[in-house]
Amino acid sequence: MTLLTSLRRLLAVATLGLGLVHAAHAADASAPDLLIRQLSLETIEAVKADKDIQSGNISKIIALVDAKVMPHINFTRMTSSAVGRFWRQATPDQQAKLQAEFKTLLVRTYAGALTQVKDQTIGMKPLRAQPTDTEVVVRTEIRGKGDAIQLDYRLEKAGAEWKIYDVNVLGIWLADQYRNSFAQEIGANGIDGLIKSLADKNAKAAAPAAKG
């Protein structure tokens, strides 16, 4: 039963992970912990302030993510990591499609999870990194009812900015979580098969998502 609880929490908080961040254009990406701190705060505020988000208005959430969150995520890296060694076999066109469908899949997850956000606060754990590091893990946790929920971010330094390239919810790195599923699908039906099954999933979910 632990798993059920875990997965429930994973969903409840994956949202805050990549964060449906409001007004993140103000987020300062010059230091990794600073970036996460601001994204976290803004996410919590945005969710609490917006009734539409709480009720799972998916188009509104997608628009938000596109405008505010995506600039802080290296989604190409996240997707390629989930696709693993098959990524290099994919054509640029396939890569773009994979990325688009994977993004929709994750955003959908957050959209659902957002409706479960209530009285949580965010705790920052001390950063264990050297100033010279170009890849760091920023560790946070969501505190509310029940166990604190581990929520960590992998960030890389791209030029002067830090970008998120993976998120860990409850000990589960999301890119790793999908790697086997993707490999299994590619093994059976090829890269186009994976794109198709992702697209099907997304299309199927798009209909009932409206009713929340």
């Binding site: 798993l3 007004a23 912990d33 606060t121 264990r128 990194a129 589960i172 086997n180 999933k201």
Partner: protein, 293 residues
């Protein structure tokens, strides 16, 4: 004589080479087969996949036809405050067991904290129905014996799906009988009450998972693989002990809070750096997962 020896040597060399080649050939073939069927590391932890899939499908049917309808009815009929109370009650029993496990893991401070939670909620919280401890700042930290075994250095082992009990691993299956000794059912020695309370605990857990379960259906390409990978990753990771000091962020005054927080943030990041100024490692500070074996 020397002739014979030379002949034997040549023969054995030839055989050896051939052997090597065969072994290598077989090796690559197996490797390729593994790659094709298994994709990656995680799946080698699932040697009983075909059996597990059958059990998983069975469990899914049971859930769909019995557990989920009951849990749905439960969450529709029983008022929310009552459900919260029931959830807290079970959670409180879990806290006592977490405290024991934290002690077994050598995390005494956290263990004492969970013990405090149990003490406070059991008394002031009316046998655990109210979760006063959380409001008092004692965070819940769930542990079980499977985690303790892991902490002692035992790997998760292969993935197993048990009929009715669901996803598990070799390690967690070994721990299960021990964990059962601390399940809510043991509070009662009367057989019928035991069954009743265990059933209620099960329904409570399932009810908590209703909405998330539906969402999961929508994001998992293959439910079996998704659950398995989540289980193994989750159970195999040891989140850096969780005993670090945590700074709670207070939302409310938007950008102002962000700005105010900026200074301590950079100070915090500077401190460990100056404390240990070596290392120019180009790696995440926290290697992928300390638990990946």
């Amino acid at each position: 004589m020397s002739h014979v020896i030379r002949w034997l040597a040549t023969l054995s060399l030839a055989l050896g080479l051939a052997g090597c080649q065969t072994v290598q050939g077989v090796g690559t073939r197996i490797d390729r087969a593994l790659d094709k069927v298994m994709g990656s590391k995680g799946q080698r932890l699932d040697p009983w996949e075909s059996w597990n899939r059958k059990v998983f499908a069975f469990n899914d049917k049971v859930d769909e036809n019995v557990l989920k309808p009951i849990a749905t009815a439960y969450s529709e009929i029983v008022p929310s405050p009552v459900r919260t109370g029931i959830d807290n009650f079970f959670g409180n029993i879990g806290d006592a067991w977490s405290a024991v496990n934290l002690m077994l893991q050598g995390r005494f401070k956290a263990g004492v904290e969970q013990g405090m939670r149990f003490a406070v909620n059991s008394t002031l919280g009316l046998a655990g129905v109210l979760d006063i401890a959380t409001e008092a700042g004692l965070e819940k930290n769930s542990q079980d014996f499977g985690k303790t075994l892991g902490k002692w250095g035992m790997g998760t082992g292969a993935y197993i799906v048990w009929p009715l009990f669901g996803p598990s691993s070799v390690r967690d299956s070994l721990a299960l009988p021990v964990d059962w000794q601390a399940s809510p059912g043991v509070l009662f020695d009367d057989g019928r009450k035991k069954v009743g309370i265990t059933a209620l605990s099960l329904v409570n857990t399932r009810a908590n998972f209703l909405r998330a379960g539906e969402m999961l259906e929508g994001i998992a390409l293959d439910k079996y693989t998704f659950y398995r990978d989540a289980y193994l990753q989750r159970r195999g990771s040891f989140d850096d002990e969780g005993d670090d000091e945590v700074e709670v962020l207070v939302p409310g005054n938007g950008a102002a809070a962000g700005q105010a927080a900026a200074a301590p943030a950079s100070a915090a990041s500077a401190t460990p750096a100056s404390a240990a100024p070596v290392a120019t490692v180009k790696k995440p500070a926290e290697p992928a997962s300390a638990a990946t074996r």
